[in-house]
């Protein structure tokens, strides 16, 4: 609802209610008389003027600009001025405005002050309430825009993962085809499975941890075709919750990185040790690989790691840690994600696999 329309509706309702209440207060006999309506309407007009001056001018001019003392002072002046005006209106001016009618100022000045202070106070409360709702609406809009922005950024990053992964996969197939290996067809199937997962699941908000583990195993199997037979590859998985979920494609870039820069096909005694564990909403992923002296590792740069860092910042702000360490011979990455709010999702079971 538009702000102006909502404000008009709320104030209309308020004044309609005020009219009914005032009319019942101003009744001069047990039966409602036309003169009571006339008096109530005129009396209420002075109240409306005081509230309008306060809400339409003083609050916007002084309160919103942070001049609180001046606003309070002028509000008090406003209340006094209109109480006095009301008194003079019914004491004198009314005889000129409505000749032939007999009115007096039925309330003394202090009673009128109470009336005007109450209505100006109520008007302010309504004004504050409307502003609060507007602010909440504005915040929701901003939050929605932020979410849209994050989603757009996330999709942009994921779209970078796909071609990156495809490139690596094709490299494997290329290697196998050069060797004219009989395992090429099996590798193509593996790559196809991985691509299917990447294409259809990577845009999901969450995927099961089990399906992420499965895709890692497929990828490792694919990589086995290109690494040296002596390369030691370990993958350990341990989940306490079968329906634990996590954002898709978080671990694959790290595994890719380990194989690309660590194992590197020709290296003997190479190793990759991977562990994916989950306990009470905390997911721990560790990967360690040998570090060939001749190859520069991708510690800070490279599309894969850079992409992962940005995605983690967007998806798990303040809820993840990515520690990259290395010794002379070992390159180690430890990723911990805390996703207590969403790590259990029964619906993901039906989507997994």
């Amino acid at each position: 609802m538009r702000v102006a329309l909502r404000s008009t509706l709320v104030y209309s309702l308020f004044w309609a209610l005020a009219f009914v209440v005032l009319l019942s207060m101003f009744m001069t006999s047990s039966q409602m008389q036309w003169i009571d309506y006339v008096y109530t309407m005129i009396f209420m007009l002075t109240l409306m003027a005081a509230v309008e001056v306060n809400e339409g001018y003083l609050r916007r001019k002084f309160l919103k600009t942070g001049k609180y003392t001046l606003w309070i002072l002028l509000t008090v002046v406003n209340i006094n001025a209109f109480a006095l005006f009301n008194h003079i209106l019914f004491d004198t001016l009314i005889d000129y405005i409505l000749p032939g009618y007999y009115f007096i100022s039925y309330y003394d000045y202090f009673d009128l002050l109470k009336f005007f202070a109450s209505f100006v106070g109520l008007g302010s409360l309504i004004g504050f309430s409307i502003e609060w709702f507007d602010l909440q609406e504005e915040r929701q809009k901003i939050a929605s825009l932020e979410k849209e922005k994050v989603t757009a950024e996330f999709k942009a990053l994921v779209s970078q993962v796909n071609p990156h992964f495809l490139f690596n996969g094709l490299t494997v197939l290329y290697t196998l085809s050069l060797k004219d290996s009989r395992e090429t067809s099996s590798a193509i199937i593996k790559l196809s499975d991985i691509l299917r997962y990447v294409i259809y699941r990577s845009n999901d908000e969450k995927v099961s941890l089990a399906s992420e583990a499965a895709i890692l195993k497929d990828y490792i199997d694919l990589q086995r075709y290109r690494v040296h037979p002596t390369t030691q590859i370990d993958f350990v998985e341990s989940f306490l919750a079968n329906n634990a979920v996590v954002a898709p494609m978080l671990f694959l870039p790290l595994v890719e990185n380990a194989f690309k820069h660590g194992v590197h096909g020709e290296t003997e005694n190479a190793f990759v040790r991977i562990a994916l564990r989950e306990q009470e909403g905390v997911v721990n992923f560790t990967i360690a690989n040998n570090k060939p002296a001749s190859v520069k590792t991708d510690v800070d740069g490279g599309i894969g790691l850079k992409n992962l860092k940005e995605r983690l910042a967007l998806l798990y702000p303040q809820r993840h840690s990515l520690v990259i360490s290395e010794t002379e011979k070992v390159f180690n990455i430890e990723l911990q994600i805390t996703s207590r709010s969403d790590y259990l999702d029964k619906s993901i079971q039906s989507n997994a696999g």
Partner: protein, 228 residues
């Protein structure tokens, strides 16, 4: 305040007849109103025309003034006798005895000033306490107001507010003052009803102060001219 259209001249109303009329009205009104009806009849018996009466007095203690010139035996323009003396029980008040054709009505009067003008508040008191105790227990004094235009040792001139004018203003919805319209069951229109002002003394005084000098507010037929 309470307006009552006098049904007839005082000589045409016998006490039993007046009480009978009042009881007929009382039958159809609630407890508090009964007393005002009776009081209105008593006051109406004293004056020709219509008077304006109120539940609350028109004066406050601070407004009361006392003028010894008002005391004494007076004769009005219709040769009726009026005896006014200091009330022994209430300070700064008068007891007014009006005698007409051998019958007497007693009123408690207060002179008071508003905005420099002198007014008189009158309310009936009964001296029949021994005879009709139950009747008196139901009495709550209603007040009427009159403007004192002259007060000397030799002459007193008083004029009452115009009840007919007030009735018209109520009917035409041109005056806002707390009131009740008391209708008898047999009444066919508002003209037969009795306007009883229920406004506070503050409110009454504001009206008197504001419109007290408006000559159209007074009834030219409802004047009391007393001489010695």
């Amino acid at each position: 305040m309470f307006g009552y259209r006098q049904p007839a001249f005082i000589e045409k109303i016998s006490w039993p007849h007046a009480l009978q009329a009042s009881f007929r009205i009382i039958k159809h009104t609630n407890g508090m109103r009964k007393t005002f009806v009776i009081v209105a009849i008593l006051i109406a018996m004293c004056f020709q025309g219509c008077i304006v009466v109120s539940i609350y007095p028109f004066y406050k203690e601070a407004d009361i003034t006392y003028n010894k010139s008002l005391e004494g035996d007076w004769v009005d323009q219709d040769r009726n006798n009026w005896r006014i003396h200091k009330n022994p029980l209430k300070p700064n008040s008068y007891e007014l005895h009006a005698t007409k054709n051998g019958r007497e009505a007693t009123l408690l009067c207060h002179l008071f000033k508003l905005n420099g003008e002198l007014y008189m508040d009158m309310t009936p008191i009964s001296d029949n306490t021994e005879e009709i105790l139950v009747f008196d227990l139901h009495m709550i004094p209603a007040h009427s107001i009159a403007k004192v235009t002259e007060l000397t040792d030799q002459a007193v001139n008083i004029k009452w507010f115009n009840e007919e004018r007030l009735r018209t203003m109520f009917t035409e919805n041109r005056i806002k003052i707390s009131h009740e319209l008391i209708m008898d069951q047999d009444s066919k229109s508002k003209d037969d009803g009795i306007y009883l002002l229920t406004a506070s003394t503050d409110e009454l005084q504001k009206f008197v102060t504001k419109y007290g000098n408006d000559e159209s507010m007074y009834d030219n037929d409802l004047k009391l001219q007393l001489t010695k």
